[in-house]
């Protein structure tokens, strides 16, 4: 399927999906999306690093997806339909989750829309188990289910995996992982790590990719994570070398240090939006030239 590059009237849509059913450590990821959506209404959508923002007239159109007493499959179906409709209207979809399983909804829509789609996953965990606690749709299996959809995967900041996940990542040519240590040693440059991904990518940012000192309010904090500058430089490079067709910011559980963790997630969302807009406006050849420079 050809890749469209329309940018005139680039308008993002915000999907708020506070779905939480399989949290295994600390609960609270259902509280994250509304908190971040509210923060995005409150704070100025300007990023000084990028020196861009969204003007006052460019409000984020927001859809709140009902999740109460609903099954995961119903919620994913709604998310897929909402995201698919928005994408067909030329809108960029940014979702706020919720546990990581919700990624599957807009990801399915992106695949239906663009065909070959890769996934860039910023996360502390591989989320590659085939099942966890008896469920195949656990948050710990989200990327395994994404692989079932045929995508290729780049996991960044991954530092907590089980043997099954390590074996799978070693065996599958569709999976590339980079630990925080590897990223630090490479000055957060991705190099060939992106090579296996197609032109269109779905960006999913699990907030536990950050170090717990930076983002204390997450469901499954893991020591040794990335900081703001590392995460944003990775997002910047992905956007420069690929077209981000949809994105999500998920797994915020703001029960600890709520204010600053929510602010952090909101800033991540703004950076993802700005860089996705950039990536949509730059033709592939220019993007390649940028990298070469």
């Amino acid at each position: 399927m050809s890749v469209e590059r329309p940018t005139d009237g680039w308008r993002p849509v915000l999907l708020v999906a506070p779905f939480e059913q399989t949290s295994s450590f600390m609960s609270g990821s259902a509280e994250g999306p509304e908190a971040v959506a509210e923060e995005l209404r409150r704070v100025e959508l300007f990023d000084p690093d990028v020196r861009q923002g969204f003007g006052r007239g460019e409000h984020l159109e927001t859809f709140h997806v009902p999740v109460a007493s609903r099954s995961l499959s119903d919620v994913l179906r709604d998310l897929e339909q909402l995201a698919g409709r928005s994408m067909s209207e030329g809108r960029f979809v940014l979702m706020l989750g919720g546990e990581h399983t919700v990624t599957l909804g807009p990801l399915r829509a992106a695949i239906a829309r663009w065909g070959s789609v890769g996934v860039v996953q910023l996360d502390a965990h591989g989320d590659l188990r085939d099942s966890y606690e008896g469920r195949k749709t656990s948050h710990a299996c989200a990327m395994r289910r994404a692989l079932d959809l045929g995508v290729s995967l780049l996991g960044l900041g991954i530092r907590s995996t089980c043997q099954e996940e390590v074996d799978l990542a070693a065996w599958s040519p569709r999976i590339v992982h980079r630990t925080p240590r590897q990223l630090r040693d490479a000055s957060c440059k991705l190099g060939s790590a992106l090579d296996h991904l197609p032109e269109c990518v779905y960006l999913t940012v699990d907030m536990d990719v950050f170090d717990p000192a930076v983002a204390p309010g997450v469901g499954t904090p893991e020591a040794g994570g990335l900081d703001w500058h590392q995460v944003t430089s990775l997002v910047d490079e992905v956007a420069m070398r690929r077209r981000i067709v949809a994105a999500d910011v998920i797994e915020l559980a703001p029960r600890v240090e709520r204010e600053r963790t929510v602010r952090l997630a909101a800033r991540v969302a703004v950076r993802a939006l700005l860089r996705s807009r950039d990536s949509a406006s730059r033709p592939t050849s220019a993007r390649i030239a940028d990298v070469a420079r």
Partner: protein, 288 residues
């Protein structure tokens, strides 16, 4: 403990020096006109002085204890908030007296607009000075909700009066970004360029006069390093980024006065007050 802190001076140490013998003077300035983004900055000086008795003041890098070199601590001034200009004039007058006695004042704020009266007094005493403003936000606006001097305008006010270098800001809005173009001689090194350390060459390249007032808004630190009310934006400096910057500033310029401001204590987290007290010790050790 608080009264004791004031009574004994910064560090609550026996080596606290009488004013007439001191070369450096710590001035707690609980300035809080209610114009900033950090609630509770008026409580900062008290918390820092209280914490200072628990700080090990020997500076291993320098090989001496800065408090052995004559540090006096003043009582906090009673500030009047009848109009916005009054407390700033009170601080200027106090600073002028200390500078007139040939001593180096180190103010513990308080709202970070303290930089304005502090620099004014330094300029009156020493003539041609520059200002190094280490801050989380540059403050390029001309007016902030109609007010002339607030943390959102302080970079601009300082730049209008003296060559000013803003170092370490990590967040500002579109209005400030646009205003940057309209501030004559605006100089800025954002946080991203300070991470990992900044050298003296970079600071000297800003072209400031040899003498400077150094203003340190502690909110320049990342919230993971200094969690406090109002310090929410990610991407701030680490502790060593800041102390390297402080060292470089003292090495690059003859710092004639200094403020450490913008601190609001986090109740239940004594580490933040200790951190600011350690920063004050660092500055006292580097002061000429």
């Amino acid at each position: 403990m608080t009264f004791e802190a004031y009574a004994q001076g910064f560090g609550c140490l026996p080596q606290a020096t009488p004013y007439h013998e001191a070369t450096r003077v710590v001035v707690p300035v609980p300035l809080d006109p209610g114009c900033g983004e950090v609630p509770g900055v008026g409580l900062g000086p008290l918390a820092v002085l209280g914490a200072s008795r628990f700080v090990e003041t020997f500076d291993a890098d320098l090989g001496f204890d800065p408090l052995d070199r004559g540090v006096a601590t003043l009582d906090p001034p009673e500030l009047s908030y009848d109009d916005p200009a009054t407390p700033l004039e009170q601080i200027r007058a106090l600073a002028a007296g200390i500078l007139g006695d040939g001593k180096l004042p180190l103010y513990i704020g308080g709202e970070r607009i303290i930089a304005l009266p502090a620099a004014r007094a330094a300029s009156e005493r020493h003539g041609d000075i520059g200002v190094v403003l280490v801050a989380r936000r540059p403050g390029w606006l001309d007016r902030d909700a109609g007010r002339v001097v607030t943390p959102l305008t302080i970079g601009r006010r300082l730049s209008e009066l003296w060559p000013t270098l803003v170092v370490g800001p990590r967040w500002w809005n579109a209005l400030e970004d646009a205003a940057l173009e309209r501030v004559p001689g605006a100089r800025m090194i954002p946080a991203r360029e300070v991470l990992g350390g900044i050298g003296t060459e970079r600071l000297r390249a800003a072209g400031l006069p040899a003498r400077a007032h150094l203003s340190i808004d502690v909110g320049v630190l990342d919230p993971s390093v200094l969690p406090m009310p109002g310090n929410l934006e990610p991407g701030g400096l680490g502790w060593y980024d800041l102390v390297d910057l402080v060292d470089a500033a003292f090495e690059s310029f003859e710092v004639v006065s200094c403020d450490v401001s913008g601190f609001a204590p986090s109740f239940g987290n004594a580490a933040t007050s200790l951190l600011v007290a350690q920063l004050v010790v660092r500055c006292l050790g580097r002061a000429p």
